[in-house]
Subunit: 393 residues, 2 copies
């Protein structure tokens, strides 16, 4: 019943090795024929004839019907993915930056070629959120999708709130453990969860939004004052991407730190774990929880995509192809906490209303309602030392 | 792109009414043409011409291409479902007893007729577990599925462990709130979660197992001694159905109360909520959480099934149709806690080993390893006042 897959894999890191091991022992009707690697001198655990540095050895091999793209470089990954689809091969990728940046183009190539590109591993590791949004939740009935999409920043926030560490020590610990990169900007700056949000928004609502058009503020300016404020009010701070339906035809998207209370399902998601909350019709919340990024969780999602290809599964873009299109808007009022230094920032943000003002020797903050568009316009003013903005429930 | 559904609905309770309301306001390409009800004299919130007591008004109407079966009576529901499929209509049902009891027969009728029967609402309310097992998790890679599938008994256990109530008061409270029936046996006896487990096992591993061939022990014999034991060890007791792969070709299934510790993802599932833990390849745990039974959660699952029918979705039984069949076994050693009165029960159960024995004035218990087959053989001996058996991690 299932189609046999003959696979060419780009990259042979933790995910690739794990996949090879598991595929070998199971009766999955899969064969990995060739690995394309960058460094041909590195010692490998498998026979040398399986490896090549020549991409064409995979892309021009008619026997290979499936390409696994598991490399870091987003530009090279895009090149490989495009070429593989046009060469009549299905592709599985876990490269969120590549997917998010080229989402519409990749969808078009799939429509043209009739081939499939699956990328469950690109969003929230092992949690099958793309598949559920694609297949299970009709956009008409989907109120919002939010979650913890970034394991590194969540690990740091857990250390801060559960172990009383400060931001710098927590970041250092995360880097030592390999949960955060030497340059952690992608994670703690909220760029990584933004790529994932752009992909989620597409499968949730059928919209194509460029990552650069979505606001992201991260936790990189989080200070002791903000942590103390959160603790006093029994909040935790989490970095939360949100896709939310505002009306029949408008959706808002952003990534912001958020003060969350105990009754929020994301409150208990700790360390490198990920969680997704889906609010659907009948005002019901569904919660998906699992390990976020990392070799094994990503491998498990990649493997599910591969096994689905054996049965001809592909994303159908049916939400995008619907007659009544949903539009992306940034005209949305958010209640925020803002620690600031210069009063002029308040003016620039043009708060709709301010409900609290605090002036102290060491810092000051306001709580009020502000339009997302004003935050976007003044992102650089806010993203400075001495400033921290977070959403309040 | 989507096919228009013209719906005939059997039953007009909370779910039916909620569905009608939501379908009316949304652009879903659906129309409910007729409701078949039992009591024609009951006052209805909708125009009289929408109602009939004649099943044939739906089953013989060629314009109606979709039947929603939302009645309680499992035998009548089976009759309706069969006839509707044979009349060329797709069916959505939430009747777990009917589905579990006739699973194989219903699959055969679907294969014969080419029509679809979907029943996400029958298992764990709003949690899309059937769809995920069917589409996302290959059986070769699925280590186990377990969870809290029954809201009523979980509500009772929450009252006991979080509010120090005894079993009888908690049950009474659950009945007052409508979380448990006047005869609560189906829920607290573990029959309801067993029906759901039989359905889950089919979509997880492609096996057909009759509910009567699966062991269920419930929480109806839970006593103060057991509760005290659990509290002293920082356990909670949860009623947990389990489907677990023992080898490449054997799966074990049972429903037992279980002592769970804080690190178990089901520990925090409280009240009428449901949770499902899926262990898949790469030793990874995924957790799904949402509202269990009840009008709205069930309605949301039913609605997702309906919207999927517009795109021709059907379960494909591909796990069952695989060449290498998985078999159901009961030959499995479980570590249990058993409170008992008569020593002869220990002999009958023929423990493989006993690691603890406690003799007190009021009660006695043993902890040891016992084969599931021996529990099944001696179910009536254990399911008596004075006895309580639960799994230990």
């Amino acid at each position: 019943m299932s189609e046999k897959l003959t696979i060419g894999m780009f990259g042979f890191g933790v995910v690739g090795q794990g996949l090879y091991d598991i595929i070998k022992t199971k009766d999955l009707n899969l064969e990995i024929k060739k690995f394309v690697i960058k460094n041909e001198n590195k010692e490998r655990s498998l026979p040398a004839h399986l490896f090549t540095t020549d991409a064409n050895a995979v892309l021009n091999d008619p026997e290979i019907n499936t390409v696994l793209e598991l490399i870091d470089d987003a530009d090279a990954a895009f090149e490989i993915t495009q070429r593989a689809l046009r060469a009549g091969k299905n592709v599985v990728s876990a490269n969120k930056k590549m997917i998010a940046t080229h989402l519409e183009e990749l969808a078009n190539i799939q429509q043209e070629t009739g081939k499939a590109l699956l990328y469950e591993g690109a969003v929230c590791g092992s949690i099958p959120i793309i598949r559920n949004l694609e297949e299970y939740y009709d956009n008409e009935l989907l109120h919002s999708v939010s979650g913890i999409f970034n394991g590194s920043s969540n690990y740091i926030l857990s250390k801060i709130f559960n172990e009383n560490q400060d931001y710098d020590s927590a970041l250092k610990k995360a880097q030592e453990l390999g949960f955060a990169e030497t340059d952690p900007t992608l994670d703690v700056g909220g760029f990584d969860p933004k790529y994932k949000l752009a992909i989620v928004a597409n499968h949730a609502y059928g919209i194509y939004v460029k990552p650069e058009d979505i606001l992201n503020l991260g936790i990189d300016k989080l200070g002791l004052a903000d942590i103390t404020y959160a603790r006093e009010k029994n909040y935790k701070i989490k970095l939360i991407p949100l896709a939310k339906e505002l009306s029949e035809d408008e959706v808002v998207l952003y990534v912001l730190p958020k003060f969350v209370t105990k009754d929020n399902l994301l409150y208990g998601v700790e360390n490198e774990n990920n969680g997704v909350v889906v609010k659907a019709a009948f005002a019901d919340e569904q919660f998906f929880f699992g390990k976020g990024a990392g070799g094994h969780p990503t491998g498990s999602a990649v493997l599910s995509d591969i096994t689905a290809l054996r049965y001809g599964y592909r994303y159908e873009f049916k939400k995008h192809l619907k007659s009544q299109q949903v539009k992306y808007t940034t005209d949305y009022e958010i209640t925020v906490y803002l620690r600031y230094e210069d009063e002029s920032v308040l003016e620039a943000l043009n708060f709709d209303s301010i409900s609290e003002r605090f002036y102290g020797v060491d810092f000051k903050y306001v709580i009020g309602k502000v339009n997302l568009q004003n935050i976007i316009k003044n992102r650089e003013l806010i993203h400075r030392d001495g400033y921290f903005l977070a959403e309040l429930a």
